[in-house]
């Protein structure tokens, strides 16, 4: 008990609170800049955090991590430019809402969902870190392969009508993901001798190009009077600028499901918040009684990806705090900051000196509260910043987007790719091909290929060959769950068709 009180005291000191406020505010601003990921924001702060006391530096770092995830959704909603890849799925319904004058409502929903997802995963982290980490670690290449293949197939199927266009777009994304060096033999694949392509295509140019630049190109075709009007119109009706209690209540089941999904994905090393956001979006769409509203400005389409991508941030710390294993780059950066500040994590920390762990938990929860308060301020700043004439904003977005895509790898080639993907994105939209499955295919391709090839390599060492996967309890459970899910989905569709079809 004394460890708990000591930990709380460490995190709620004046200096720590101030550090959290500064971290969250800086994170929200940096996260809104296209190309700067949450990991980059954390990496930028780490050198400065060493100058401070550990309980100033660490809370600031955690605050920045959380702030950057929400900040990125602001630009995703208002100008279709996700600040970080994690906010890409928020574009799908956030941007249509902004176009309907409901930008403030969408940002507020994103804020509430972010804080909800964050708090949910933090509570899971506090109460069941070890259990969740054990479940996550029982997932091997076979389980990852089937999970990712299913995610790709279902997201491709549901993202367009007719479904083949979504599936083909997904396969195109997978093909773009193949470009680069083969992960096993290091042979060049589809690079055509271009050394810039050896590293593969960067995620940031893909996201910015297909989402933001294609939209800028599309809007440039508007009439001159439209272009001289305000970039973001806000409805004058108060109900369009706030989230009512009934709207929030309607989103609560989605928030719980998305947060749980984000927590599970966050606990698994390697998948990350972008994947969680897209999966939660797909899940919310499938579960909704009105799936046709998704993509046209559905509030649940903002709530689901935001809750999921923020839930990942807390859950990323589960394997880190429970076993000392970082689940992704951001967690690895936080681990390095812990190590340099002399804070031990892992199983022994829970028994030997749990005070710093309780202080981290308290700082995480405080950061959520600060995120909620400062986020409201950001809504007003965004209203002012994006209230300029549309043509001024479009021209600026194009240059800022190219600077953001250059920043990550320092490659001029990435700037050229941004515009190429922008033109490709416009072409795809023109012919009714959705761009989102392409992005998901691209994001998941390396993880899928690595795991699939590992499974096939492992299969050679077993007598049962590929059937060895069924001897794994996690794989068998997952297969059973998928079969039940597919059967339920088929039954629901059959019933819907039976009801809507007129009698012969």
């Amino acid at each position: 008990m004394e460890h708990l009180i000591a930990g709380i005291n460490l995190a709620i000191s004046f200096e720590s609170l101030l550090a959290i406020i500064v971290g969250v505010a800086a994170g929200q601003v940096l996260g809104a800049i296209p190309g700067l990921t949450a990991s980059m924001a954390v990496a930028l702060l780490i050198p400065y955090s060493f100058y401070f006391d550990p309980w100033v530096g660490i809370p600031m770092l955690l605050g920045m991590f959380k702030g950057s995830l929400f900040g990125s959704s602001t630009t995703a909603i208002l100008i279709r430019t996700p600040g970080t890849p994690a906010a890409s799925a928020t574009v799908l319904d956030g941007y249509p809402l902004a176009q309907q004058g409901k930008g403030a409502k969408a940002i507020k929903m994103a804020l509430y969902a972010s804080v909800f997802g964050d708090t949910f995963s933090d509570i899971c982290l506090i109460f069941c870190a070890s259990l969740l980490a054990l479940v996550a670690l029982s997932f091997g290449p076979a389980e990852y392969t089937i999970l990712i293949a299913l995610a790709l197939f279902s997201l491709g199927m549901l993202s367009s009508r007719p479904a083949w266009k979504g599936l083909l777009a997904m396969l195109m994304g997978v093909t773009i993901g193949i470009i680069g060096l083969d992960p096993i033999t290091a042979t060049e694949r589809l690079t055509f001798g271009n050394p810039e392509l050896e590293e593969g295509i960067g995620l940031i140019p893909m996201l910015i190009g297909f989402l933001a630049v294609s939209e800028v190109f599309r809007q440039m075709g508007s009439s001159v009077s439209d272009l001289s009007g305000r970039a973001i119109q806000y409805s004058k009706r108060p109900e369009d600028n706030r989230v009512s209690w009934s709207e929030f209540r309607d989103c609560v089941p989605t928030l719980f499901k998305a947060s749980a999904l984000g927590t599970v994905i966050g606990a698994m090393p390697g998948l990350g918040s972008t994947v969680a956001a897209f999966l939660a979006y797909g899940q919310a769409r499938r579960a909704s009684p009105h799936p046709e509203r998704f993509g046209k400005g559905e509030l649940q389409g903002v709530a689901a990806p935001e809750a999921a991508n923020n839930a990942v941030s807390g859950a990323n710390l589960i394997p880190l705090l429970a076993f000392g294993i970082p689940g992704d780059i951001a967690a690895a950066l936080i681990l390095s900051a812990f190590m340099i500040q002399g804070i031990n994590v892992g199983p022994l920390a829970f028994t030997e000196n749990p005070t710093p762990l309780y202080a981290i938990y308290t700082a995480l929860l405080m950061a959520n509260l600060v995120n909620l308060v400062l986020g409201h301020g950001l809504v007003h700043i965004a209203r002012f910043a994006f209230g300029v004439p549309r043509r001024l904003l479009l021209a600026s977005v194009l240059v800022v987007a190219s600077a953001g895509s250059f920043a990550l790898r320092g490659s001029l080639f990435d700037v050229q790719l941004v515009f190429l993907f922008g033109a490709l994105g416009l072409l795809m939209v023109r012919f009714g091909f959705p761009t989102v499955p392409l992005l998901i295919g691209f994001i998941l391709m390396p993880i899928l290929e690595e795991n699939l090839r590992t499974v096939l390599l492992l299969a050679g060492t077993y007598d049962e060959h590929i059937m060895f996967v069924f001897s794994r309890p996690a794989f068998s459970t997952l297969c059973a769950l998928i079969v039940v899910g597919v059967a339920l989905f088929g039954w629901r569709r059959w019933r819907k068709r039976a009801i809507t079809q007129p009698p012969r």
């Binding site: 021209a395 416009l426 096939l456």
Partner: protein, 166 residues
């Protein structure tokens, strides 16, 4: 043209491109190491070939479905309309050309900051902005903000350009 015919035409073009990809691009751009068997893992061309086969199966399945359909499928199944607002208008094409010029010539030669200012200026003109104060001040302010943020705060060195490199 009925939707079925236009979709068949689209599928025909895509299948032709896919054949080119499978029979020409993959053998040219992916070379498998000699004697690379299953024991060493799958050959590098496995993934692109698998993707191409899946895409072909998907499209052939759709073609058969369209050919066997007794009526135009647009009546039988809901379809997302093509976004006609995503057209290649003269202004859009001019904007794309300016962006291409920026990425291929202006940044390598003039550098990011100067090239960016030229791009913003040209985009403003393309979009119908002719007020001299806006045309001068807006590019300057945007590039100043980018310089302060990326070069000063984040220590990202933006390309200086051939003209300004020692």
């Amino acid at each position: 043209m009925p939707r079925r015919n236009s979709e068949l035409l689209e599928l025909g073009c895509l299948l032709a491109s896919l054949s080119l990809f499978y029979f020409l691009v993959i053998p040219l751009a992916v070379s498998d190491p000699q004697d690379f068997g299953l024991d060493q893992g799958l050959p590098p061309s496995f993934s692109p070939r698998l993707v191409a086969i899946l895409a072909a199966v998907l499209m052939l399945f759709r073609v058969i479905r369209l050919l066997l359909a007794t009526q135009d499928l647009s009546y039988a199944e809901p379809t997302d309309e093509d976004d006609t607002s995503a057209s290649f208008s003269p202004r859009t094409i001019a904007g794309m050309a300016a962006a291409a010029l920026f990425a291929l010539v202006l940044v390598p030669v003039l550098g990011f900051l100067l090239g960016g200012a030229v791009l913003v200026l040209s985009l403003l003109v393309i979009m119908g902005e002719y007020r001299p104060t806006v045309l001068v001040l807006h590019p300057l302010l945007v590039m100043l903000a980018i310089w302060a943020l990326f070069e000063r705060l984040l220590s990202v060195r933006l390309p200086p350009g051939l003209l300004f490199t020692d």
